[in-house]
Amino acid sequence: MSGLESLYQELILDHSRRKVGFGLADEEGRSATSHQHNPLCGDDLTVRVRLSDDGETIRDVTWEGAGCSISQASASMLVELAEGMPRAEASALIDGFREALRSRGTIELDEDVYLDAAALSGVSKYVARVKCAMLAWVALEDDLARA
């Protein structure tokens, strides 16, 4: 696989077009919304989380915004991963995701844990793109801190 093909795996391009969870759900019950911006390219992403009544579980994640295929795919993959997940587990996964993406290719994300998002491991070799992949995750982290 060339550098480019490992960065833009079919799975990623596919998610960037499918955009799972695109379109913000209504604010309802315990929910929070975070707006993130990448000053480098001017991309914007808004991510909303809705929690269970006890606040312990993620009901769903939805989002809106424009950006490169990495940022769009990453949001889409995160939606699939986080839905129905205990809040604490999601926070831990976000930490692990950040660590892997900042590792410059030394840490691979585990497919059994990160599902499709594991395909984003390759981004960590492209320092300038890490921010694109992180955008949705940072937004969800922000949501969870405030919901």
């Binding site: 060339s2 960065l7 390219c41 914007d44 424009a66 295929s69 492209y126």
Partner: protein, 421 residues
């Protein structure tokens, strides 16, 4: 015709390989590569003559001072100006901030009596264009915010040319400053300086020219252009980082209050007040970027040796080849694709269905280095309904072959990303 092989051999970085492929560097509008002569001039200075300038009696300091002032004369001559009308700055951003803050200081009553003519009153207007780089926009926003002046802008047409009809109505008796780019770093169009200067002069407004993207590419005679003030950056014209120039008309520089204050710009200082030297020293507080000034002088000597008319003709040919090629690739939209205008060698474009970031990543993989983003011109991108674009920009060392490599790579983008290929 340029001897491209010889020129390329002067630029060590151009023989770098990115993952095995030779580098096609088409990002000179961001920062240019430096010829060996520039690097050598700085190293030679640092290893033989380095010493504080303008303040020492020892032989080394005297020699350093001489080289430093010779550099000023060389760079001034490159833009058609006498040495005392060239102020060293750390770059175009620093130069534009110098002017904006100096006007703010005049407004606050600072400076010699002659400075009063620059004082702004609430309601006075500062005029920029819609195509401004943030460096020629935000300093004016902040000046307006501090003084109560009002910031207005001249729109551009859909093809990127300045709307001169609108300019004639935006520029009015209330205008105190008219600031505009000689060449926008997104559009590449050489703007109608004479027309804008005439409009500004008719109402007595100060003209400020951002010559960042023209100085490396065109023969430049700033006094002949008739502007009051102009800035450029060394690192975009084959020179070092951290050095640039502010040109000013003699009477304007004479009356502007200082901006940065400190050592080497004063005559007499007490604990309570200071008296200032005449220009250019008045605007050069503290230790100057001495080796960088000497490096920039080497850069303009290099450009002069090649010849700016030849540089411009060469880049113009590259620009035409690039524009023609890009227009033929489906889904490509060029920004500033105006007819019958003078241009420099750059094109910014949008690829339908593929985000600019993804485009540049794809090009990078093919060894073609371009820039992506808003290029510090968010309002202009918004004007075109975009948040980001891809920009390929050439310098004297680029070849037609490199342009073809760019075109080949761009042609593959939409297929790779599955965008309506």
């Amino acid at each position: 015709m340029l001897d491209l092989a010889a020129i390329r051999a002067d630029f060590p970085l151009l023989s770098e390989r990115v993952g095995g492929t030779p580098l096609v560097y088409l990002d000179s509008a961001a920062t240019s590569q430096k010829p060996q002569a520039v690097i050598d001039a700085e190293v030679e200075f640092l290893t033989r003559t380095n010493a504080g300038v303008h303040r020492g009696a020892h032989a080394l300091a005297a020699e350093a001072t001489e080289l430093f002032e010779d550099a000023r004369a060389t760079v001034a001559a490159f833009v058609g100006a006498p040495p005392e009308q060239l102020v060293w700055t750390n770059g175009a951003t620093a130069g534009l901030n110098l002017v904006a803050y100096s006007l703010g200081n005049a407004t606050a009553g600072r400076g010699a009596p002659g400075s009063a003519r620059f004082a702004l009153r609430p309601g006075d207007e500062l005029v920029v264009t819609e195509s401004e780089h943030h460096a020629n926009l935000i300093p004016w926003q902040e000046l307006a915010g501090r003084t109560g002046a009002v910031l207005r802008h001249i729109p551009v047409h859909d093809d990127g040319t300045i709307d001169l009809d609108a300019a004639a109505s935006v520029i009015s008796n209330r205008s105190r400053v008219v600031a505009f780019p000689h060449v926008s770093n997104v559009l590449g169009i050489v703007n109608p300086v004479a027309e804008l200067v005439a409009l500004a002069q008719a109402v007595g407004a100060l003209t400020v020219l951002d010559a960042c993207q023209s100085a490396p590419h065109l023969p430049l005679d700033l006094p002949a252009l008739g502007v009051d003030l102009a800035v450029f950056s060394g690192h975009k014209m084959l020179g070092p980082y951290g050095i640039g120039g502010l040109y000013g008309r003699a009477d304007v520089l004479d009356d502007l209050p200082p901006f940065l204050t400190g050592g080497s710009m004063i005559t007499t200082v007490s604990l309570d007040e200071a008296e200032y030297l005449p220009p250019p020293q008045r605007f050069e507080a503290g230790t100057q970027p001495v080796s960088q000034a000497i490096g920039l002088a080497a850069a303009v000597r290099y450009l002069d040796a090649v010849g700016m008319p030849a540089v411009h003709a060469h880049e113009r040919a590259l620009e035409a080849r690039m524009g023609d090629g890009l227009r033929q690739i489906p889904g490509i939209r060029l920004l500033g694709d105006a007819e019958g205008v003078e241009r420099v060698g750059l094109w910014a474009f949008d690829v339908d269905g593929v985000h600019a970031h993804d485009v540049s990543q794809f090009l990078d993989d093919r060894g073609v280095a371009v820039r992506v983003g808003h290029h510090c011109a968010q309002p202009l991108h918004r004007r075109f309904g975009l948040t980001a674009s891809v920009r390929a920009s050439a310098a004297l060392y680029n070849t037609p072959d490199e342009v073809d490599q760019l075109l080949d790579a761009v042609a593959g983008v939409r297929g790779f990303f599955g965008a309506g290929a």
